[in-house]
Symmetry: C3
């Protein structure tokens, strides 16, 4: 699609106080990164560290912060706004809405092949895709969209404007708030992993809780959120989960926290608000993370964390041959420490100067 620059700025004028510098009739076809943008594309400068890329960008227009205004004007057409990255986020929404191939823009609102239980309640403007099945007493609020092949269990509740893409499973009794977005293959409400060991076997503990999800939550493809054992698994408002994330039973994740792909949270862990968990990181069971805790990718949280901050635990990657040497030495690290201590004790001068004792 093609939009006039002036119309773009106008469409976001309700939310942003942005100034356009340059020709308002400039035609924009697409959004693009600074380094690859062409003369019909709109780009943005999200961080001062990329300022060097600004001068040489061929973009038709660049969205910048007031701090970069001077540099941007020297280059040419620009939009000045306080938070260019947020502005850009809204621009992507504009493009998505107007894009001719937006997902589900075609087709009937309730596909004739879908199975909807007679006891389900669907409010106005609910869309149901091909082969979806919706269970008894499920309640789908205004504007809900259920993609093709979704399975919605009995007694499920989906809040207004919540959108399930294709092939999402929401098991019996689970609840999602408003404006959630769930990607294909996600499984919400499968049984938690609970067994009592007895005579060398595992006896199943039936999982009697549900999953309770707040508003504005996004859940990635093939991500799993288990139902609670006795109480509920709770995902609070604004949480974002990437793909292939595992959330165990009874977990609680606080508002506006975000977990990257392949992260795993074991049963009964509680993660605070505004936390981030990097890709592939693991939070062990029954732990507590305070608000504003940030866990690096692939790190394993083995104890509760009570202070906000940035935490990491991963073995630094290296050339394999060097890694082998260091890893071998690591397996005797405790012995090395003992040897060092022994040396210190026999060296009076060293003893006097040593910064710390073990």
């Amino acid at each position: 699609m093609t939009l006039r620059l002036a119309d773009i700025v106008l469409s976001l004028a309700g939310e942003f106080d942005a100034r356009l510098v340059g020709d308002p009739d400039t035609l924009i076809e697409r959004l693009a990164p600074l380094e690859s943008a062409t003369g019909s594309e709109l780009s943005f400068l999200s961080h001062p560290k990329y300022l060097g890329k600004l001068a040489t960008s061929l973009a038709a227009c660049v969205v910048v912060s007031p701090a970069a205004e001077e540099a941007a004007r020297r280059r040419g057409t620009c939009i000045i706004v306080d938070d260019p990255y947020f502005y850009f986020a809204r621009l992507t929404r504009l493009w998505k809405q107007r894009h001719p191939s937006a997902v589900g823009s075609e087709g009937p609102s309730r596909h004739p092949s879908a199975f909807i239980d007679p006891l389900a309640q669907l409010e106005a403007d609910v869309m149901v895709g091909a082969f979806a099945s919706i269970g008894a007493r499920a309640v789908l609020a205004k504007g809900v969209s259920v993609g093709a092949h979704c399975v919605i269990g009995n007694d499920v509740r989906l809040g207004a404007e919540t959108r399930l893409e294709a092939r999402v499973t929401v098991a019996d009794g689970c609840v999602l708030g408003q404006r959630c977005l769930v990607h294909p293959g996600a499984v919400i409400g499968a049984d938690g992993f609970g067994f009592a060991p007895h005579a060398g076997r595992w006896e199943k503990i039936e999982q009697l809780g549900i999953v309770r999800i707040g508003d504005d939550v996004e859940i990635g493809a093939n991500t799993c959120i288990d139902r609670g054992a006795l109480q509920d698994t709770v995902i609070e408002d604004g949480v974002k989960l990437d793909n292939l994330v595992q959330i165990g039973h009874n977990v609680r994740i606080g508002q506006h926290s975000a977990l990257a792909g392949c992260a795993g949270v074991a049963g009964s862990a509680v993660i605070g608000a505004h936390c981030t968990v990097g890709g592939g990181a693991v939070v062990l069971g029954h732990l507590n993370l305070a608000d504003h805790v940030h866990i690096s990718a692939a790190s394993v949280v083995t104890r509760s964390i009570h202070l906000p901050g940035h935490y990491t635990g991963l073995f630094p990657i290296d050339d394999n041959a060097r890694w082998e040497k260091n890893a071998a030495t690591l397996k005797q690290l405790h012995v090395l420490r003992e040897r060092l201590k022994a040396l210190e004790q026999t060296s009076p001068q060293a003893l006097a100067k040593s910064p710390k004792k073990s």
Copy 2:
């Protein structure tokens, strides 16, 4: 639902020798953890370390072991039984069975939308959900339940009372035993990852084996178990796999072993009986783990383990700034060892006392 305490004890009397202390007419609505239980809820004390929580619990009744009988009696109504956690597991089953919204308790036994190949054999009491498809010559024994949107390939065999939740895939020829439970999105019998390198390309090795699963196996949501290359991938009786677990081709997992979420087992590894593998742990290919081996979460098994025991390998998490310093030093650990050795050699006293030489 609401049950009389006496009826609860009675319903488990065939399996447990439990004594009820207190009013048998006490009404129980739900099961709950000790700390949150209210006066209409039944709780349990699984481990002596939680004894401190007992006195203050508001539960209507608490299930305890004989060792905690005295403390429990002081608090009020209780059930005394040898293994309270196992008793609790059976209580969850009781609740699940009587729960009004038990999954699949409604709906026809064979949904009219399902596709069942004319050559498939379904024994008595088989339930088939909406849009399920069942291939030629598949054999579904008595009481099998196939959830909505399941895909059962040709020649698959499912043992009596085995239950597939929604959206499970069982590929051609695979076999599951009795009383298995498979959660949504699980894929049983996709091709193993086998390629022969040739002239800079990967030539596919067709995967000619199947997956052979024993009795009482539980398989988590979106978990994948690949078919064997030449021989079969085998999951023995009583194995429990959590969500998002990856089992490579030709793997064998021994009886009653349990793997937590996001664990991965590479091709041709053999895991013994009664093992546990923590969340996110990885077992490399072609390794052997003895019976009763326990691998900590996020640890990587890089060599066979022949002795029962508990094994761990993960970098301890720390404040990011401290981690950075230690990680940087770790990359020169081998050099540090050499320097320590050099110091020892020039220090006669230290040499005499050093606990061990490298």
Copy 3:
């Protein structure tokens, strides 16, 4: 099925210069590993290190390289060919083709239950499984096979002979080349994980790119490949992705690279050609890996790698008690280095001999 050895060799004669030593009328029922093969099975010796297993193998015939010819002849019937493992790969294909229960060998070419949008274009010999749904303007080239329960979005293009197994999702606009194979549960083209932080919340960045996949790509079960944010996510020809792999938005993976199960590649990373990434390994965002880089299982790539080679970073597994001691010491490794340095400075002899200074 049963084949004469002479017919087997003949069927591959167009591609290989192989010599049969022994009785051409030997009947072969199956392929099998050296150690378990019986008198009706064909096996192979892929690597000289397994030469010891050759003499005792009961296989009807063994495929070996010229280097092992003498040993193989002493044992009995054999096929001599330059690359036995590649030969074996082709043998598996032969068996798969002739196997009576080959997936999808039965059933109608377009299952009557499938939903095909009237605007979709299906070329000759396209197979569509039960309950598959195919969106508007999708183009499926000659010989494409769409498994049961697949969801193909609007404007998707699938190249000739590409095969989707059951329950694959390809979102709007995504493109796959020829002869690709996609396993159940894979999700191609879900939204990338992109949000702009604003006032303590995450504002969605709509993902406007697509996924563009080359020829001869194999994608494992429940693997996810996200669509690009502005530009496209690109998987080049011949790439092989195992199960439960996560590919973030804007990633590019070069020709003939292979990623093992549970690997994750974060957004905008670029992986070169002919790379391998081990199971559970993580590549962080915005990094570059040169061609021919090999990452060990469970290692985390935290910086770009510009030189071909083999790289590793994982904490070596150990008995848990020893691990605990070493992990505790590791958290003070930096302090140990300082202490060592202090000792060195007070020991003139050591100073003179120390191999390197920190």
